[in-house]
Amino acid sequence: MIFASLAFLLYFFPVVFLVYHLLFFSRPLQNCWLLIASLLFYAWGEPVYVLIMIGSILANSLFGKLVTGRSSSAKRFWLVISAIANLSVLFVFKYLDFVLESLSIFGVPKIQTGLTLPIGISFFTFQAISYVVDCYRGDTTPENPFYVGLYIAFFPQLIAGPIVQFNSVADQIRNRRVNIDLIAIGVCRFTCGLAKKILLANTFSAIVDNIFSWSLIGSDKLQVPVMLAWVGSISYTLQIYYDFSGYSDMAIGLALMFGFEYSENFNYPYSADSMTDFWRRWHISLTDWFRDYVYIPLGGNRNRNQDMMVRNMFIVWLLTGIWHGANWTFIFWGLANFALILGERFIDYDKRVRNPIIRHVLCMLMVNFLWVIFRADNLYQAGIFLRNMLGTNNNGFYSDLAILYLRENAVFFIAGVIFAKPVARKFNERLFKFAGSVENVIFSVMYPFIMTFLLVICVSYLAMGTYNPFIYFNF
């Protein structure tokens, strides 16, 4: 089940919300209800693999106990076992077929297990590891399996994050507060996320999927001129942001409605002025996870030996690429990010390039090119598409279709570009600053209407059965 669906909006969410708040008298009952609902939520889309999730919950609950209250060596032993167990499950379902296929290049007989990827396995595996490591470190005490289950399987963040570290929600599981203010903020956040996903992300995705598929047909049958290729790449740059951040907004909004306060997952990444800055703003929960559970344990920046620092960065970015999917494109993409970020350090980028416009444009160009690699089905398609963008594929420059796409979706492109910048934040800050102003009053009156309009439009799009892809199948 996905948030942007009628089944979720009309059936699942109202029932879960209503029953949850009717159980206001008992936190344990509320938590139990959320766990049951979350398992049902997952089972709706993964009727078989929900057992893997339940297995993961039980196993990691046990590991959480085994890594506490013992000798260091015993704790470390169980920590390693838990990491191996979690990562093995992830490896088998997500990477095994990819590895086997890659080995076939070296003459190893090609065997494919045919296993399908359980939705969200990358997210909940990382959360499970986070729980065990936090117990090991003493950042938290082991919890009962129900609460561990609630942490791992909680439906708002289950399928597409944010990746919540256990230490940040441990207290909230037992002691969170729910009030009307939080619910109201959550509702608005959820609605904004829904609009981002349905109105913007889905619009761009229809463009992207067409243009990327045409790049594979062959330029002798169907050309993708330079203009069209750039429309495709920019559309994807916008799609992935609005899809992912929209989903995060919905997750954060839903969590708030149940009293959980999550950290932000995006901070206007397309305002970044360097790759380093970009990754402080994009998928923050993932970079935090890798920082806290991989980079810092490896030594982080504190090595006097710069080689070790580079090694640590390399490992993190290699793993980041691998985490995103079982394909050489993701590995290449991860390592390309590593190279750019390392390069920025080595050349002292912040001092050498000071002009903010140039910095921003260069950053966006790099991000855009890397998203092409990220989106491509394989490195060959990535290469073809990049050549199309550069006009080196005998593909010409001008494209009627590109003009058509821009004209037909002008409003969406304009909104997409504007709201990718912190316009809403600056507007809110201005309203705060001029509290009693006329524009504040007008906006306050208009706000409920605008949001209601957005909600109705989103439901209309869903009723229409418009294109509504789910892009997290890789994760």
Binding site: A7, L10, E408, F432, M451, M464, G465
Partner: protein, 407 residues
């Protein structure tokens, strides 16, 4: 300030929950049966301990959404306000006359077109001993290259090449063909009068014009003069009647009336009485039987005229209830006239009606329907017809339209 900030969010939250819970409640009641049916169906496919497939249930929820047409019209209105020439992610595009066209960025070549022509050839060979003559008719596509005004860049589904190839191979294999693209638009009918804006079909006047062309072709090609006096193909045999603002075709129902507009529907009513027997069968095997004059036996006037919900029934069903798997029409007034078997799609429903007064017997099979009720090859071989006419709408050129006389 924080109070105002939260207050406007609280107001929206109240609206949100009122709308959500009330709409959810309405849907629980209105779509309960359909969703339960879908759930039962899926549960019957799995063991007790398994969770059923849910995609069909979700589809049912979307399909049976309460007030769905209002949401479709909201989407339609937004698309129109944004002045978009495409809708539903290029499922349809709008040409400069406001007509909805099918869209296709890229048409993959169909390598089986020669085989389709060969199947018709095999059928012709199978009925040759009975002296049955075969004619292949290509209905005009809604998008006609060079004739349909379309904004530059809009990706129309252009079937020109596919139709040209099909007709080429038909002719190569000795099958007589009639390319109706050549006849539209014409002096009597502009392009806008030939096709509905909101439906994939042609108009009834266009179907009648095509009937005249077909009769002329049967005469010129096979010497068969179905209408010696010119009565049934002349304008005097039918009276047009226009029903205002009742037509929202299939494509229009998918996109919303706001986007394409509701149309008038011009029907042709006979100026003669006629005496017909009609038996037909739907895809599920349900049989129907009507008899009487032209209007009673062949037309479905009351249901269409009485319908005030433009989303419910298309007026196109006025002729032969638009489309049933099998039709058999006997003209009691002309027992000696030729008999024709049509292998057809929905385009030819009105044509069959207009042909009926000139023939003794017309049978029609909807060739795209997958049904075990009729074995097309067996039917053709066992029943004698003077003519077999294969009609395909260009958008339907494919395996499903030629599912007979395989090698």
């Amino acid at each position: 300030m924080k109070k105002k900030y939260i207050l406007r969010k609280k107001i929206f939250a109240v609206i949100f929950f009122i709308m959500l819970f009330s709409f959810s409640g309405v849907n629980c009641i209105s779509q309960r049966k359909e969703v339960q049916k879908a759930l039962t169906e899926e549960l019957s496919k799995v063991h007790a301990w398994q969770i059923p497939e849910t995609s069909n249930i979700e589809d049912e929820i979307t399909e049976e959404l309460a007030g769905k047409m209002y949401f479709i019209e909201t989407y339609s209105a937004l698309t129109e306000v944004l002045n978009k020439k495409e809708i539903c992610n290029y499922r349809y595009i709008k040409d400069e006359t406001g007509t909805l066209q099918y869209s296709s960025f890229y048409r993959e070549d169909d390598d089986n077109i020669p085989e389709y022509a060969m199947r018709v050839r095999r059928m012709a060979d199978a009925v040759k001993a009975q002296d049955t003559k075969v004619l292949m008719v290509s209905a005009p596509a809604k998008y006609l290259e060079g004739k349909t005004p379309l904004r530059k860049g809009l990706p129309a589904n252009d079937t020109t090449a596919a139709v040209n190839e099909l007709l080429y191979y038909m002719n190569l294999y000795g099958i007589k063909t009639l390319d109706l693209r050549e006849y539209f638009p014409n002096d009597e009918l502009t392009l806008s009068q030939t096709f509905f804006r909101s439906d994939h079909h042609w108009t009834i006047p266009a179907a009648y014009y095509a009937t005249r062309i077909l009769v002329e072709k049967l005469f010129s090609e096979f010497g068969e003069n179905l209408d010696p006096t010119g009565y049934y193909t002349g304008r005097i045999s039918y009276t047009p009647k226009t029903f205002k603002n009742i037509m929202l075709g299939s494509t229009g129902r998918n996109t919303g009336a706001f986007y394409v507009g509701v149309e008038n529907f011009t029907a042709l009513f006979p100026n003669f009485i006629g005496d017909f027997r009609r038996s037909s069968m739907a895809a599920d095997g349900t049989e129907y039987y009507t008899k009487g004059n032209f209007a009673d036996a062949l037309m479905n006037i009351e249901e269409v005229a009485a319908e005030d919900n433009i989303y419910h029934v298309s007026p196109y069903t006025m002729y032969l209830n638009e489309l049933r798997t099998y039709e058999s029409i006997t003209n009691k007034e002309k027992p000696d006239a030729p008999s024709i078997l049509f292998l057809r799609d929905s385009y030819f429903s009105p044509v069959i009606v207009f042909m009926a007064p000139m023939c003794s017997q017309i049978d029609a099979i909807y060739i795209m329907e997958e049904t075990d009720k009729i074995d097309i090859e067996d039917f053709i071989v066992k029943n004698h017809f003077d003519y077999i006419i294969v009609e395909v709408n260009p958008y339907n050129i494919g395996e499903e339209s030629f599912n007979f006389f395989y090698d």
